[in-house]
Amino acid sequence: MALLEIRNLHVKVENHEILKGIDLTINAGEVHSIMGPNGSGKSTLAQVLARRENFQVTQGEVLYDGKDLLAMKPEEAACEGVFLAFQYPVEIPGISNAYFLRSALNAVRKYRGEDELDAMDFIPMFKKKMKLLDMDDKLMNRSVNEGFSGGEKKRNEILQMAVLEPKLAILDETDSGLDIDALKIVANGVNALRSPERAMVVVTHYQRLLNYIVPDYVHVLVDGRIVKSGGKELALKLEDKGYSWVEAEATA
């Protein structure tokens, strides 16, 4: 059974159709990249999978681990192992990053029937993961993402992923705003989580990230449809020829 199976997914926002029939099958252990021009619907797809409620699914279905993903609330999807690294991580004043992370971890553990962790258990664990991402300890006592640099926010997303250990991780333009050093660190963090039980969807506009997180499959999303799918060489071709090439081919 596939880990994720998207069939003929149509999505509207404010009466405007954004996804116009997506079909996509992802197996555990695979890394898929979704590429496409700005505004093609990549973030919409990512957020629908994370169950953001202001998108309206008008047709189609999504099976996750054999279950109806579209019937889940965001917190249920998260507890079932779906994780979205946000393109624009949200700042939450007044909640410390440490408290947020621990609340998230304990919510997920509780759902899975595991014991909640106390400070003595989670602090060493967080510290280890932060080290992997070369993150400053001080970020833990600050409010969630508040005053973080672009790179710090993206690392914080990957840290959350590392702590929550999802089965399906969707990274939405995690590369944007990162310099090459930060990009390598983030890619390292992501690669450390690659495993046969876990699938990843790497959404990006540019090919560079894929040099470091090498995908098994690449899909090109244009105007709400997957117009082309292939192996990692497709990304290089896109880099070379630009999106106009597939767009032209798609409309031909």
């Binding site: 994370a50 169950r51 953001r52 409620e53 202001n54 609330k73 965001p74 917190e75 999807a77 998260a78 507890c79 994780f83 979205l84 946000f86 991580p89 949200v90 939450i92 004043p93 007044g94 909640i95 410390s96 440490a98 408290y99 947020f100 621990r102 609340s103 998230a104 919510a107 997920v108 759902y111 400070a119 003595m120 602090i123 060493p124 510290k127 300890d137 833990m140 006592n141 409010s143 959350q160 929550l164």
Partner: protein, 463 residues
Amino acid sequence: MSNVATTSRELGNYLEAFTEFAKRAPGQNQGWLRKLREDAFAYFCEVGFPTTHDEDWRFTNVSAIAQTAFRLPPEAVNVSAEQVEPFRLGGAACELVFVNGRFDPKLSSVNSLPKGVSAGSLAEEIRRDPKPLERYLGQYLNTQRDVFCALNTAFLEDGAYVHIGRGTVLEAPIYLLFVTTAGEAPVMTHPRNLIIAEEDSQATVVEDYVSLGAGVAFSNAATELVAGEHTVLSHYLIEREHTDAYNVSTLRLQQGRSASVASHSVLLGGGLVRNNVHPVLAGEGADCLINGLFIGNGHQHMDNYMLVEHASPHCASRQFYNGILDGHSRGVFHGRIIVHKEAQKTDAKQTNRNLLLSDDAQIDTKPQLEIYADDVKCTHGATIGQIEEDELFYLRSRGIDEPAARRLLLYAFASECLERMKPGPVRARIEELVNEWLFHTEPGSPEPGNAAQERALHWEEVG
């Protein structure tokens, strides 16, 4: 009569009460004190209760207070230590308990006060040694402009008298607990506090208003706090009476040169609440923090009237009020700043933020700046909003369920105010109360919003 809300029948009720009161009021043999009461009562009779035509009362209708025949409380009401126990603040330097406005020595403890600090009953002080009080009592509250202050002064009987001697540093808070016992007939109390902090002293005073039992009651409190030169003072007001209660309180701060004062107001209970905070920055280089949190639900009405007067150069004032309103509750924030002509280099800031949790909750927020000096910095801002959808989604996308995510965001909003309070027993108690009020948790329960405590946990030191 200029005022339609107060009829002669209602005034008649106060006249009767005042005539009775004048026979037994402490210090009536002191001409100045008798005159203070009589003048205040005359002003009250002249103008009556305000109506919503009065600019300062535009958003708050007090006709329910005006139309109720309140009586002064009976002489002796027996309240046991057990009844008061749940309210007490641990870790205080002393606890003064007032039952229906009168000091109750049995319930109070003043044992651990250091040298240089005295705290006790104002009525006793008036009987013991009234002369030195003349300099302060009624000298700061405006009893010829504010009807409720006038009424409080007319019925001035008891409350706390606190004196912090020169150079004295008192770390633990002075805790004042005002208990109203509601009965069959509506009672009114007029607690009057006088707090004098001499030069270079430091102290914290907490006023906590609570109810024993339901029933209509009217607390009309007034505090004059005189902060001498170079003092550092914190004042806390906690209003957590029954929703049948009316509570009007006025804090008048008089700040000397370089005096630094923080006023923290936490409004949780009471049906109709008016919280007046009136600092006058009279000495050069003084600063004040006016911090407040009001949490309304049901049909509660919470009105915060700030009047910050800059009367000297180089003074700074910071006002931050956050409101959380649910149900049909209504909040008011009226932030008035007056910068007098001589108050050059004033730095005044005002922020009022509000969260409306239901469609029927309402907030009126009004800044009012009157600036007569030319070299000043004055800023103000107000926001009214709901819980942010993107913040909620972010938390939920990490597995935190919706109710818990909402609680976290609410507590975070409240903690903006809590974090301006100095860590210690008062803040810890207020955090507990805010949790109780917001989430109906039992006292002492750790859930749900311990983000602030978590923050205090030193990440670097553990693990």
